[in-house]
Amino acid sequence: MFTDFFYLLRAEGVPVSITEWMTLMEALSQGLDRSSLTNFYYLARSLLVKSEAYYDKYDVAFTWYFGRIETPDEITEQAMRWVENALPPLNLTPEERERLAQRLEKLDLDELRRRFEERLKEQNEEHHGGSHWIGTGGTSPFGHSGYHPSGLRLGGESHSRSAVKVAAERRYQGYRDDLTLGVRQFEVALKRLRRLSTRYDAPRDVLDLEETIKETCDNAGRLKLVFIRPRKNTLKLFLLMDVGGSMTPYSRLCSQLFTAVHRTTHFKDIRFYYFHNCVYDHLYLDPTCHPRQSEATTHVLQNLDTEYRLIIVGDASMAPSELTAPGGIIWWGMVNEEPGLVWLQRLRQRFPYSVWLNPIPAEQWDNMYGHQTLNAIRQVFPMYELTLEGITRSTGSLLNKR
């Protein structure tokens, strides 16, 4: 049943597993969807989608898959009038249901739809309790308060909005994790940097009181000490930010990241430096990039050990000469003897754990202004989008050497 929907969800990027799909099948066999598409929408979502970040993708897949089977409004209005005066609901025992299910033919959606339209053409009054026409309390596939193994419920229990309409509204767009985000979400994303950063080579030098007591008691009261590794985060962060010029449109985004990093207290050390377009002989201590507030890049490189995780934030788009030519620096009156690319390679060499975060959406990377320099830099650093998904994926590169 709906196996295509399963694959469609996966194709959309919703991580659905077989286990979850089987749970949905179990729920459907228990009749938890109550033969309504709206209920099915929520049922399937609650079982298949485990993060609000995927709600939107789910909505997209749902609209695409079920959009076709929505009954047009004008037809149903007429049919709705036929089912208004309902017979009492048909209460069947499971055995009766079973028997009926065998007797009544199962219909697939296309067949159901064809017959429904046929009935709508032929029928011109109310019919209740039968097995053919649209009505209530019967065993026809159309109507409500009756029973049919693969019928279409019309009216009955009221639902103000249909599932496809709910899905089509795409109210969860804001929660997509491949979209840019706020400070709070950045913080959560950065917390991932802690998870994998327990230092495995640390000495076991902290007394585990609880385990010690337990072991001692197990040892019939003779003292047995238990030591564990400290749970401190030893991760150090080195943040380099491109400012000014082409980065201005992204300043809000960058400042959110900046705030988040500042607020995230779990790093052992954080260093901030700024640059404009590309890194050369000097790194700047504040966003104004004034030479007076700068440090020699070589000096910084020497002072920060290779354990620092380097995150460079920038759009990586500039004139090719700024990257590849000596003297390509954009500041008037300043000369760089080595091209920017050499400096970037030097950074990468010094910090094996490093990533480049780019505020420009990844789909534009190949056909925008500055794509030559962007792609050249991508050869040096693993590059990710400055989005929740991007940061999450970048943590992999920040924790494992490539």
Partner: protein, 283 residues
């Protein structure tokens, strides 16, 4: 179970949306844990309270803290007490059973009647915490090696788990849950919620308060957006303050009830000054 299950319809003090109600039914029918996420103040914790009340079941709350370990929810073996007793006590220390103290999960398992178990703020705990509970929540049983006993659930409890998304939960854990994200309620839903708490509230006052509240929430750059509980406090303050409704949007009194961050006050001031009255700003 689904045939006899009456279905959850919310309670008089808790307004529940259609989709959430459906999801609760699904979780109960499939007897799987229901994981609820959502902005702070959307009533995640209160959901469990309301379910317990609506179904007439006992509620067991397991509050998770950063130091909570999965084991504590099952049982604790009080070895210190036993050691103490062995030296000074008069109890029979060979009976280990008396030193086994069941945790909240264990308590829920041995209960004679079905219960609602709330595991509150599961994301506060260590990243491995949910994984450590996988088997116990799946099988609804656990083994105590010290006494060679297996504690099995007499009735599968209705498990409600809340998360504030401080940490990502492991996939294996998520696969076993029914998931729901509680959206921040829209103005209509919010009006219903406020009316539940203040049945005698003047309609005029309510509308003005909501207008100001949603205006505030939509301001860009707020560090902490006010949530439902703050709105309720604010309405309470407005009622006690006895302000005329038309002054609410114009003056935004008792702003401190709504805003909890120092940095947010200047933001609001700035928007009020540039845009004039709040009411004119509304779409």
């Amino acid at each position: 179970m689904n045939a006899s299950f009456p279905g959850y319809r919310g309670t008089d003090d808790y307004v529940v949306s259609d989709d959430l109600r459906n999801v609760v039914d699904v979780a109960v029918a499939l007897s799987r844990p229901l994981l609820v996420k959502g902005e702070p103040g959307t009533g995640k914790t209160l959901l469990a309270v309301s379910i317990a009340r609506a179904l007439g079941l006992r509620l067991i709350i397991w509050n998770i803290k950063s130091t909570t370990k999965a084991q504590e929810g099952l049982y604790v073996y009080d070895t210190v007490q036993r050691l103490y007793d062995s030296q000074f006590g008069d109890r029979d220390v060979s009976d280990i059973k008396q030193y086994i103290k069941l945790g909240k999960l264990g308590e829920a398992f041995i209960s004679d009647a079905p219960v609602v178990l709330l595991i509150d703020e599961i994301d506060k705990a260590d990243i491995e915490f949910p994984n450590d509970l996988l088997w116990e929540l799946d099988a609804m049983s656990f083994y105590i090696p010290e006494t060679r006993e297996t504690i099995e659930a007499k009735h599968r409890p209705i498990v409600i788990i809340t998360s504030n998304a401080e940490k990502e939960l492991p996939d294996a854990f998520l696969r076993r849950c029914v998931f729901h994200y509680i959206e921040f309620p829209g103005p209509e839903m919010m009006a219903t919620i406020v009316r539940v708490h203040f049945p005698d509230l003047e309609e005029n006052l309510l509308q003005e308060a909501l207008k100001a509240f949603y205006w505030l929430r939509e301001l860009p750059g707020l560090q902490k957006k006010p949530s439902t509980s703050e709105l309720l406090d604010w309405v309470q303050a407005l009622v006690i303050g006895g302000l005329r409704p038309e002054r609410i949007t114009a003056e935004m009194p008792f702003l401190g009830v709504l805003l909890k961050k120092n940095q947010d006050f200047p933001v609001v001031e700035r928007y009020r000054n540039t845009a004039g009255r709040v009411s004119q700003l509304r779409r």
